[in-house]
């Protein structure tokens, strides 16, 4: 009994320590440069994305290789409705829910025709869906409707959309930064806190989803679709729910991405991005929230750290010349790490304890 209580105390102490660390982190990173704060923010977005995909792949067992499409839907919803492209400037409390809703709708649209497909057939169709969305973003800058010659420009094509509004609370623009008791907080650091709060919300939401009736139904589906059906689970509905819930999270992250970057283009939403998010889920430990977060942090932060650590200056100092372009070195180490982690930890770095 007393050890249980002590364990509980230890847990709480660890949580508090982690909380303080997360709150101080952007300032530590800020000392190294704002680029590092941006990396932190991107990492948080990836955590959200990985959590969303985890519901689809890790919990419900549906292999989705086009997840980034939902991220794109969220990002473009924000970009189109909060920029000079259409001269629309809606506030965040309209755009974030709208982006998430539209992404969830896209999830339903993807889910409906592929309900009958299994395993790898599902993978290729979702992959195709992701590519379709990307190609549309690239080409919907010059389309005409039947019956008229007017050329419409919806997405501005490969050039992307620039000058996107950032987050604004009651007229206060987050990008402009803030000074609290003489302590300057940059815009990116403010974004960090917003992202952190929303990431916590996502963790809470995904955790509760996973342990709800629906979550258990998803796990039954993952383990054995036929048996799940026999147990009276409506497989069609819960599959659609998995797709749209995962998409919802992706859409939310997409809107935040557009708000922070101020720029979106189709290039950010390629197949490699989907694959990367999937790798985060699998490397971390499918279906296990702490593992997935670890995977996301590792895979999104590691390449950036390598890039900075192995930049031209550093290589000049060590070798006297630039041996390998940092970009190539980054991808080289990154891909090797992916292979090695899987070879030595096939179930992920931090798999859920009850799964065998």
């Amino acid at each position: 009994m007393s050890t249980l209580l002590q364990d509980k105390k230890k847990q709480i102490a660890a949580m508090v320590a982690l909380g303080i660390f997360l709150l101080v982190l952007p300032f530590l990173a800020g000392m190294l440069g704002q680029a590092w704060v941006r990396i932190l923010n991107i990492t948080l977005l990836y955590v959200m994305l990985a959590l969303g995909l985890n519901v689809v792949v890790g919990v419900a067992g549906l292999l989705d290789l086009g997840y980034v499409a939902f991220y794109a839907v969220g990002a473009y919803t924000w970009a189109l409705l909060a920029s000079n492209h259409f001269n629309l400037h809606y506030p965040f409390w309209v755009l974030l829910p709208l982006g998430a809703f539209l992404a969830a709708l896209a999830g339903l649209m993807l889910g409906a025709p592929v309900l009958k497909l299994r395993g790898d057939y599902l993978a290729i169709v979702t992959l195709g869906f992701g590519e379709i969305v990307r190609i549309m973003m690239n080409n919907l800058d010059k389309f005409t409707l039947p019956g008229s010659d007017h050329v419409y420009n919806l997405t501005n094509g490969p050039r992307g959309i620039t000058g996107i509004d950032g987050l604004t609370f009651f007229g206060f623009k987050l990008r402009s930064g803030l000074e609290v008791f003489g302590l300057p907080i940059t815009g990116l650091q403010l974004y960090y806190f917003v992202f952190l709060a929303l990431t916590c919300l996502c963790i809470w939401g995904v955790y509760n989803m996973q342990h709800s009736r629906l979550g258990r139904a998803w796990q039954a589906l993952r383990e054995d679709e036929i048996a799940a059906k026999a147990m009276g689970i409506n497989v069609r509905n819960i599959k659609l729910a998995a797709f749209s819930f995962g998409a919802l999270t992706g859409g939310l992250a997409g809107g935040l991405f557009a708000a922070m970057q101020g720029f979106v283009s189709p290039e950010s939403f390629g197949l490699l991005e989907s694959v990367m998010i999937l790798a985060m889920v699998v490397l971390g430990g499918m279906g296990h929230i702490p593992g997935v977060i670890l995977g996301a942090v590792l895979l999104s932060a590691m390449p950036e750290v390598i890039r900075y650590a192995a930049d031209e200056n550093m290589q000049e100092k060590v070798f006297g010349f630039v041996l390998i372009a940092p970009e190539v070195l980054r991808n080289l180490i990154f891909s090797l790490a992916m292979i090695l982690i899987m070879l030595y930890k096939p179930r992920g770095l931090w798999p859920s304890p009850e799964r065998k």
Binding site: G128, L271, L278, P346, R347
Partner: protein
Amino acid sequence: MSMDVLLQQIANGLVVGSVYALVALGYTMVYGILQLINFAHGEIVMIGALTALVTANGLLSAGLPSVLALIISIFVAMVVCAISGVLIERIAYRPLRNAPRLAPLITAIGVSILLQQIAILVFGRNYFSFPELIDKTPIQIGAITVTMNEIVIVVTSVALMAGLIWLVHRTKIGTAMRATAENQKVAGLMGIDINKIIGITFAIGSALGAVAGVMVASNYGQAHYYMGFMLGLKAFTAAVMGGIGNLWGAMIGGLILGLVENVGLIFVRGDYKDIFAFIVLVAVLIFRPQGLVGEKVAERA
């Protein structure tokens, strides 16, 4: 006029489709035996093309006639790719044969990125022009225009596919391959060396990929480190459309995808070509979830 355009696009589609089919065979053979999407196969095709390019340039500058240079460089590319394929299987896939299903998929993606980076290190990010080893002057056959290069591509792929079908259905190795695909454990009990058969499968698939790589490079006259990506994606789409794991499916899927893309160009703008391929895929899978010629797998609880 429009009939001529249609015929011409069908001819183009056959050329592209036969390349897709060859690459799709590599995907489908590996999938048939290991139930693994070998993501690195597209990069094998790229390695084949770049190896052949280097070899051919070397041989041409040594003064060899272009036909000889072509044959030798294809052979070298096949050997290099077969060895890479076997090595990849040995290092990245074999240790994970009993691991959760997504683990080898992630290593496959890792290998794919790794091979691209190695190609950048060795060759750089440039587009290399591929030497014109086969005559490319247009030949007029009725209403359509083709080149000798294109004819050679189609004939070679048909020959290779026929050879593969013969190998798989008429030889001892082929029987062993089919047995392994059916049930690895039982095949092992029947005295089949599973690891050897899987190795051979990778070697054959990769060698076919190498030939496809040379075909693409010679057809478009260029090769670069990223050329395997889209080609691999299309070929995999073709394999799934035909019914993955099925040799005939890969061939039919490849040809249909090539035809659909090129005939589709008559109706939609070129920018949307890739969408067209995926929409056809989705349409096919909605009506035949197991692919065009795939067998319906009984649902097991």
